[in-house]
Amino acid sequence: MVVNQASLKRDGVQDFVSLRATALVLASYALFILGYFLTTPTVTFEAWQGLFSNLAVKVYTLAALVCMMVHTRIGLWQVLTDYVKNAKLRAILGFFLNLMAFAYVAVGFFVLWSV
């Protein structure tokens, strides 16, 4: 257990479950935002800011962003391992894509903080 947690070894079952669990959160969030646009005839600044100043929506948005990071970490890894055969290049690309995903979460966090 300790070895498992201390190493960076990937776990296929964990990847499988994480991908699907995060997918459910992301799908529900996408439908939530879609529903907001479809049910709001004209989105004004006040209404838009009001939506994201709601604490529950903030938590939901941050959860969706973190789920996006986990989801893309697995999904982009799957794509990279299939198409980028050079291990060094694959590691570099993976590093920057994961950094990019983290940046999305960080930007989202600070935007939510300021609303």
């Binding site: 799908a27 800011q49 999305y104 935007v111």
Partner: protein, 166 residues
Amino acid sequence: MLFFHTVTRHYGVANFTLMVPSITWWVITTIVGLLRVNGQVTVKKQRPVNLDLSTISMPATAKASILHRISGVALFFALSFVIWAWSESLSSPQGFEFVKSLFTGFIAKFIAWGAVIALLYHLVAGVRHLLMDMGRFEELGSGNASAKFVIALWVVLAVLAGVWIW
């Protein structure tokens, strides 16, 4: 100790004389293997390789699969536009008006449409994947039919999204 196991399993006793042919074979294959690793003995298998995608038949299931990957990667990069627009629109009333004014132009509308249709495909195909996890659409017929349905539904949704945005 595969050779040992093989001998005892086949002859019932771990008789060393019976193991000699097995050990000899193991030594020979190991040496040949090492030589191959060092590149001194090269036995190339002439297997046919075809990586020309235009000549490979792509059934509906393959198309559904590759589109799921393309839409996923596209969505990841489209997020940079989405998160920027979201951040700007929440920063101030001026920022909100600025983003709104961008959406009168073709480029912003096209990027938004692209992000929305990538999301729609990834979402619809993702639901199919979840149903497949539950054991549905795993046969050749139902797999192909559900793949075709997903692509057809996406085309309809993409047109609707286009009408909505423009």
